[in-house]
Every structure is written in structure tokens, then in C-alpha cells.
Amino acid sequence: MFLAVFSPKGNDEVSLDATLMQQLLRRDVSAFEELYERHSRIVYSLVLRILRQGSTAEEVVQDVFLQLWRNCARYDTSRPFVPWLLTLARNRALDHLRLKSERQRRREEQTEEFPQIASAAPEYEKALDEKRRAERVRALIGSLPSAQKKAIELAYFEGLSHSEIAAALNEPLGTVKSWIRSGLMRLKESLQATS
């Protein structure tokens, strides 16, 4: 069990995104500009990490934000915005990375174009603002043994399956499964812990 520390700043930011998304429904360009200013860096960083090519990454980011503008009616404002946006951006980038591949098919089966994210943000999202959460994610994953860290990165940034990661790292399949699961559990515990 974790102790949630209420952070006015973090909560305000979640609420602001929801408000901006509601304004987007009224075709408010200034709300779109503010959403872009607030989140384009992390979206671009993620997409660039996956695609490793600046111009292609910008194309995907443009696609993601235009989708946000055009399909904002399909977003449930009660859901946490940033994780939803990041999941959308990751899916788009991985689609670019491995077009027509088996991995793409698997992702399409698993996740809708507009991803399903928790209907209510976990308490630890409210407890930590985005900057502190980012620091904590980097610190925790950075503290893992390099092979375990590599396995998680291959899964998240390359879209590889357990078997593919096992083959890439030349490790037993069970070990890879365990690494990924335990790494994510430790991340969860870290984010739940109070600062």
C-alpha cells in the first residue's frame, strides 16, 4: 500500500489538460497551441527515441497532434491525458517503425487507435508532478542491471516480443519475462512511494 501525497501542482496540471481538451471540442486554436506547448517535447522525445530520425519523428508528431485536433471528440476527458497521448504517440511511432509487420498486427489487436488508459489516474500520478515522475522513472530504470534495462527498452521502444528480446539478448525466455515484469513492478513501487 502506498501513501498518496497530494500535490496541488500535479492535480492542477491534470485538470488543466482536461479543460484544454474540452476547449478543443469548441475548435479553440489557442487551447490546441497550449496543449502543444505543454506536451510536444515529451511526445517528440519519445517518437524520436523510437524512430531515431528527426524528420520522420516530426511527421509522426504532426500526425499525432492533428489526430488530437480532429478526433478530440473521441477523448474521454475523465481519463488522464498525458499517458493517453504518450500511448497514442508510441503506437504511431512503432507503426512507422515496423509497417506491415507481425508486431504491428499484434499491437492493432491489442490497442485501439485511441488507446484505453485508466479511467481514473492512479493516485501516484496525482502525488507527483510530471517532472518528478520523469526523474523517478529514469532513476529507477537506470538502477536496474543493464540487461534488464535493455529488455524493457527493447519492449517499449522497439516493440519487440518476449521471444524476440530473448533472441536479441541471448537469454532464456523465462528470464526475459521475469526481468520485464519485475522491472515494471519496481517502477510501480517507486512511483507509489512518497518523495
Partner: protein, 267 residues
């Protein structure tokens, strides 16, 4: 660990998209069964996985990207397009190029069709003019042949001239020339037009008696002039006693319906 716990262990990997097909199928079957606890846990797992984005090194998109996006968004907002609208900016350049090529091809095809239509019309008009010219020449040739034939009948020494005096002394005298092989020509000047639906008709009066034999019909022109020829008269000169001309309805008659206006003996 029960079966439910086994599924819970798969949720993070499923959210990552890294489950292999067999595990994925098992978990999806379980989720489809309506397990609310796992569904909620999966949503949390997706949130957790999304946090891995912060592992990406910080990077800044170019100002040009923001400019392009805002330009598109402002244009769409000004255009009144609501959410979900399909906008031009989504259309790739090659599709526009294809549309442009198709448009150009359509314009060219339309122009080409018009050009062909004009060409065909011109050819048809040209062919029609040639056909009319040919008919005119054929008519001129026919008339020339006729006139030549008549001239030959008039000049040939074997032809026999037959004078046809009028019954009415006010009417002009007609003359005929009969050639045993080339036919019979009758001509006259200052002959009044019969008028109405009537024509002049030539009759051959047989020596042996009996009904007059009907021959050609004709009528004078506006100046009262005519020259009519029959290449194959209904009887021979030697069996014909006289020629007679009457007025008959258009199309001619099988026997005279009026008194002869001109009669001339065949010598």
C-alpha cells in the same frame, strides 16, 4: 498461485505489447470473459507502461513543426470543419498528384473528343458536299448524254422527220424525228403549259387500227420549250400510222382521256 493470479502477471507485458501469441491469446480469452478486476488492472498497467516514455532523452521539435501544425489547425478552424472531418492536409502529395494527373487527362480527353467531333463533322460535311457535287455532275452527264442522243437522232440520215400540226390554229406546230434504232424525239417552242396537274402525252396510232399505244409524258418549260425523247417506243415506225399528243393527268393515261391537240402522220 491460482489461475487468476497467473493472468495478472501477464498484464504489464500485454500493455507493453511484448506478450507472445500463445500467452496473448490466453489473456485475451480471460479478459473477454468479463473479469472486471483484470480489466481495471490492465488500465493501470497501461498507465504504468506509458511512464516509460520518460526514459527517452529530452529533445525539442523544430519551430517549423509548430508553425505547420498551427497553420493547418487555424485553416481548419476557419473552414468550420468540426472534429472528425477529413482535411486536405491529410492527403499525401502523391494522391494530389494523381488527382491532378487525372484532371489533366480528363481535360485532354474532353478537348480531344471535341476535336474529333469537329473533325468528323467537317469530314461528314465534306463528304456531303462531294456527294452533292457528284450528283450534280451525274445529272449534267445524263443531260449531256440525252442531248447528244437527241442530236444524233436529229442528224442521222436514217431518222424520219414527222410534223405534228395543231388542231387549234393558235397553238404552235410541233416536230418529231424517229430513228428506227435510236428512238423518237419530239420538240416544240412556245407551247403553253397544260397547267394544274396535267401533262402532255405522246400516243402511237397503229396502222392496223385499234387503241392508240401510250408513250412518254412531258411538259414545256417556262418559255414553252420542250424536247422529249423515248429510246424504245411501244411500236415500230413501220407499224405506226401517226403520232398524236393529248393532255392527260400527271402520270399519264393508258388510253386518251381528251381529244388530240397535235397529230402527225408517219410516212
Amino acid at each position: 498461485m491460482n489461475t487468476h493470479d497467473q493472468f495478472r502477471e501477464l498484464l504489464e507485458a500485454y500493455a507493453l505489447g511484448s506478450l507472445d501469441s500463445a500467452d496473448r491469446a490466453l489473456l485475451e480469452t480471460h479478459l473477454a470473459s468479463g473479469c472486471a478486476e483484470c480489466a481495471k488492472a490492465l488500465e493501470d498497467a497501461r498507465w504504468l507502461v506509458s511512464q516509460l516514455a520518460y526514459l527517452a532523452p529530452n529533445a525539442e521539435p523544430s519551430d517549423m513543426l509548430k508553425g505547420r501544425l498551427l497553420q493547418t489547425v487555424r485553416a481548419e478552424a476557419a473552414g468550420g470543419a468540426g472534429p472528425q472531418a477529413v482535411r486536405g492536409a491529410e492527403v499525401p502529395w502523391w494522391l494530389w498528384a494523381g488527382v491532378a494527373a487525372l484532371l489533366l487527362f480528363s481535360i485532354y480527353s474532353a478537348w480531344n473528343e471535341q476535336h474529333l467531333r469537329r473533325t468528323v463533322t467537317n469530314l461528314q460535311q465534306h463528304a456531303e458536299a462531294q456527294r452533292a457535287e457528284r450528283q450534280k455532275l451525274e445529272e449534267q452527264l445524263r443531260v449531256a448524254k440525252l442531248q447528244a442522243h437527241e442530236a444524233m437522232i436529229w442528224m442521222d440520215p436514217k431518222s424520219v422527220k414527222i410534223m405534228l400540226p395543231p388542231k387549234d390554229p393558235k397553238m404552235p406546230q410541233l416536230e418529231a424525228m424517229w430513228h428506227p434504232e435510236m428512238g423518237l424525239v419530239v420538240r416544240g417552242w412556245k407551247v403553253p403549259n397544260p397547267g394544274g396537274n396535267r401533262v402532255l402525252q405522246l400516243w402511237l396510232i397503229p396502222k392496223a387500227g385499234g387503241k392508240p399505244m401510250p408513250s412518254m409524258t412531258f411538259w414545256p418549260d417556262a418559255n414553252g420549250k420542250f424536247s422529249a425523247m423515248v429510246e424504245n417506243p411501244p411500236d415500230t415506225m413501220s407499224d405506226t400510222q401517226a403520232l398524236a399528243i393529248t393532255e392527260e393527268p400527271v402520270g399519264g393515261s393508258t388510253q386518251p382521256t381528251s381529244a388530240p391537240m397535235w397529230v402527225g402522220g408517219v410516212s
